[in-house]
Amino acid sequence: MSDVVEKTLTALPSLLSLDSQPGSAKLSSTSKLGNLIRGITELTSKHEEEKLIQRELTSIKDQVSSPNTSMRQMKELMVRAIYCEMLGYEASFSYIHAIKLAQQGSVLDKRVGYLAVSLFLNESHELLLLLVNTVLKDLQSTNLIEVCMALTVVSQMFPKDMIPAILPLVEDKLNHPKEIIRRKAVLALYKFYLIAPNQVQHIHNKFRKALCDKDPGVMTASLHIYLQLIKENSEGYKDLTASFVTILKQVVGGKLPMDFNYHSVPAPWLQIQLLRILSLLGKNDQSTSEIMYEVLDESLRRAEMNHNITYAILYECVKCIYTIQPKSELLEKAAKCIGNFVLSPKINLKYLGLKALTYVVQQDPKLALQHQMTIIECLDHPDLIIKRETLELLFRITNGQNVTVIVEKMLDFLRISKDDYTTIDLVGKVAELAEKYPFETMNTVFSLGGDMMQPDIPNSFLKLLSEGFDSDEEDRKLRLFAVDSYVSLLQSEPNKLPQRFLQVISWVLGEYSHLSAELEPATVMTLLSKLLDLKHTSSETKSWVLMAMTKLCEGGVAISVAQDIYETHSSSMDTVLRQRAQELQHLSQDSELYLMGGVDSSLSFLDGFVSEALAAGAAPYKPPHQRQEELAQAKALSLEPYSLSLPISMSSCSIADRQSPTLMSMSSGLSGDSTDLSHKGGSTTLKLDGVKRVWGREGYLAQREPVEETAQVEVPSPLRSPSQQAEADSTQSQTPTPTVTPELEQDKQQLASSLFVGLGSQSSVCLMGKSDPTPQRFRRKAQGRASSSGASEKTPTSLGSTPSPVDNLLCNSLLDSNLVSEPTNQTPQASQSLDTTNGNCHEELTDVKENNPSLIHNNEEPDKPKDLCLSSHLPTELSGLSHSEITPLCSNQSVNLSACHVQKEDSLQLVIFIFNSSDSALQQMQLQVDSGELKVNYCLSLITDSPVEEVRSHSVAVCHYSVTVKRPSVHVEVLGMLSYQLPGGTPQTIQFSHKLPLTTFIRPLTLSTEEYGSMWLAFSQDTKQNLTLINDDQDPLTTTLNVLKKKLQLHVVEIIGVEGIVACQLVQDQPCLMHCRVHAGTLAVWLRSPVPDLPDCLLYHCQRALQEH
């Protein structure tokens, strides 16, 4: 039937007296559209155009809604509406009429109706639902053209939820005799797959059928689906590799009909699609890659014609070769290919060459070496995009030696770039490179990138500066350098610096300007106060400046400056500023207060006041979040929109919480210890969030070095290796810029030597005289220190400017003696016995009936038998109690040391077994057990007895300690040293360390709820956190608390509803209380104790216990 129609149609033109050229431009001089268009072109001003279009739109509006308008006229109106929309005027009133036209019009009107719909609406538009019926009807039409139109619109947009309605019809079309219908149906299914993959899951076998379609067009269309499928799951389609290879082979071999040729290249689009699919399939898969080597080689060979389309194929081919498992022969050819691109005088090809080079350079950095002269030329290319791509390439080949030059180039580009996106991207990259060599780069980055950059960049910079590196001397130098350079910056032109940079400057000056001997605080104060007067300084920056001044206000001039500032800002509209000014004034007047320094964040000095108030009947304080939870639960009015907004930006946070920005960034920053990732990772786009912070210890020093090095390479040619020279020469001869003067050329070569240093294996190393080609990685000081040391650790922004450990200690001990009801005899005793504790023990010597002595001598024996026999040596008073697993501590040829512990109600008993595995007796044995050597200043008090001095051959001596914790830590470490002498030998020592988790010291604390209540208020150290809830039955709270009870020996005092209270103590009466409430699927835990760090440590173990569960 349709064939008949078709035949009639093809015969028609000759019968009709119409223009025989079907699409010939009829300028439709009389049509209304023509008039409109002409009218617009005659107008001179935008205003007139607006008026004309509005008039036009009104007339269209009138006509479309008139019942007398025929569909034919409607079509005309729609075209005009489309035109108006294209000019940027809204014609939304016509949308519904477009749908109507598609629905009711005859075939010719329908076409315009569908077109208007596809131009007016996007796939989320609600009116699209009205189109579903029309599409349904047209899909069932016997008219080919109607079916085509319906499929075309469906492939462009269709409401996701309505797919099931038409899916069977579209599926049917896969069997249609006409290939154009089959092809469009496949594309419609592709669209469905993109917007709702699960809807077409069941017809994957139909995709296969489409892939095997006898019409190449239908097969090509199905490849779109396969590319998508393989992108998501390449494993599932490995079996098709051979088929794809065969298809590609046929295409490349010219087996397709001539129709598919494009400029005599067979089906280039198809080839590219296949190459993409193959590269996905062959990635990381040797055997699959092997299948395609041959056809890739063939493709490379065939695509030799000098036309853009062949280059497009070549480019895809090269990409594929470098993506799949490498084959050296192919790589060589691909590299040559890239060379042709890069050297091409055509700018588009050059660009693509650079892009390909950027892609492959990660695997083969030497390839960049071959083209270094071209790359240098591209760096100075007048077209920014070429420059940009070159920088991208350089970014990938950056190493420790060429980083200076490359960053310099990037910064040059930043200076001329106007585009925000490029700036953000490049700033991120520079910052990333600057990790390796921070200082001056960062200044430039801050002043150029300014307020555009991600907030965590300055954040991590400050963190770096405050945490410092391994050596104090380096830290001091770096900070001093920072202070000096910032002071000079402020002295010159502070008004041009971006806000973020000013904030960084103020913080650094406030914190570290005391390091500089010649710098008076008053001078800094004056400089800073100038910032306050600048017009464009934001109030956020002003707060930073005032904070800095608060740290500096000391001495005569400073006080007067502070007074001035107080006067100007005490009436500021900004409350934060007002408060800062107040503080500044107070501190500058009251030098005692100023010197006191240190902040008691627990506000324990208010405890007395609070308990008085409570006794007088005041309601206990609840933190805002708890209040809000309660409000929410009580279904009261939601106050959320008016509640205090949580501090988000680092600055507001540091102001509000009086915490240093460094502490803030601890939580926000990523822990990035390796810069490797970014260079090795294949991603072409750069993630800007969380720029890693591996700044170097050598800091700005490292930055100096390469500069000097470049200077040494003034005369490049004799220093360069012959092969490299030849490479460069050949590049020069091929590049189409023969007019370069020799000096210029030399400049370039010099630049080249500084850029490509460290890439080739031979050249760089001998050039720089460095044997280590990999850039030196600087490591930051272990983070552990900050977290393990006490809560009262000095943070950089606390008010006093000089950190003094004396203050802290004083503070702590005051705190302790105030709050802890420690047995008074224990503390002094413990501190005295700290350093000099000798290994004194309950001693029991027994002969060991050794069944298998050779095993023990081997040191490799399994623990089990020894464990068994060792446990029999436990001191008598402990033998009835359960002991922990006996863990080996250390051993040498004559001694084996192992340990276990026994938990008693009031203490922990540590037992150390000394097994003499030699044939002679150990004499003058002395065991020292000690924990004073640790940096963390907790200690164990060891109650001891008489020493052992001699251990006979093959026997065991047992040392037994009673251990209590003085200051808690997550793991308590015991260090020990055993010294002994074999008869006739020299004295020997053996050292060991043993870790005891804090949990071994925790005992349940039996309390009543009332006692709990009164204790709760008295304790000052607290911690809050949300823990995961164990959700296995109806009562998650009870379950969770039971797990904790079992694992950590806590005492569950009471559970009421969603809240539970739990108590425990550290041996020797150091209580810790825990309050739990179930909230939003998590367990909100609040721990309180009089002992510093105990809540934190206990929380850690709770977390662990729940995780392990």
Binding site: L16, I37, I82, V107, V112, L115, T152, I309
Partner: protein, 151 residues
């Protein structure tokens, strides 16, 4: 896969726009305005590609008309350039040595051809003959109905 295709004149007047990603009108206008400005500012000898936001723009000027496509960074710029070229060839064949006026006055035809060539952003039919055949068939039908209407 192209995100959108724009045709605009040397004076910056939009002649054709096809969006393959759903965007609001406001965004479309903003993108068009920015892009037209950027492309028009470029000199003739410059590269046909440019980075714009996180997209790659591929453009080519034919007489007074600029053809401009937005693609992803990992897409193949050259093949996009050839897509543009094939489209121009199709227009040329259909209108018979096409000029800007043809497209202005018959922009709906230009859309029909584009839809027949690129469907949902993917090259659907790359054979010149087949594309034009499909268009002509629909056109003929139109003429037939005209005749019928006249009768």
């Amino acid at each position: 896969m192209p995100f959108f295709m724009l045709l605009f004149s040397r004076q910056g007047k939009l002649r054709l726009q096809k969006w393959y990603v759903p965007l609001s009108d406001k965004e479309k206008k903003k993108i068009t305005r920015e892009l037209v400005q950027t492309v028009l500012a470029r000199k003739p000898k410059m590269c046909s590609f440019l980075e714009w936001r996180d997209l790659k723009i591929v453009y080519k000027r034919y007489a007074s008309l600029y053809f401009c496509c937005a693609i992803e960074d990992q897409d193949n710029e050259l093949i996009t350039l050839e897509i543009i070229h094939r489209y121009v060839e199709l227009l040329d064949k259909y209108f018979g040595s096409v000029c800007e006026l043809d497209i202005i006055f018959n922009f709906e035809k230009a859309y029909f051809i584009l839809d027949e060539f690129l469907l949902g952003g993917e090259a659907q039919e790359t054979s010149k003959k087949n594309v034009l055949k499909a268009i002509e068939q629909a056109d003929l039908l139109q003429e037939v109905s005209h005749v019928k209407n006249c009768e």
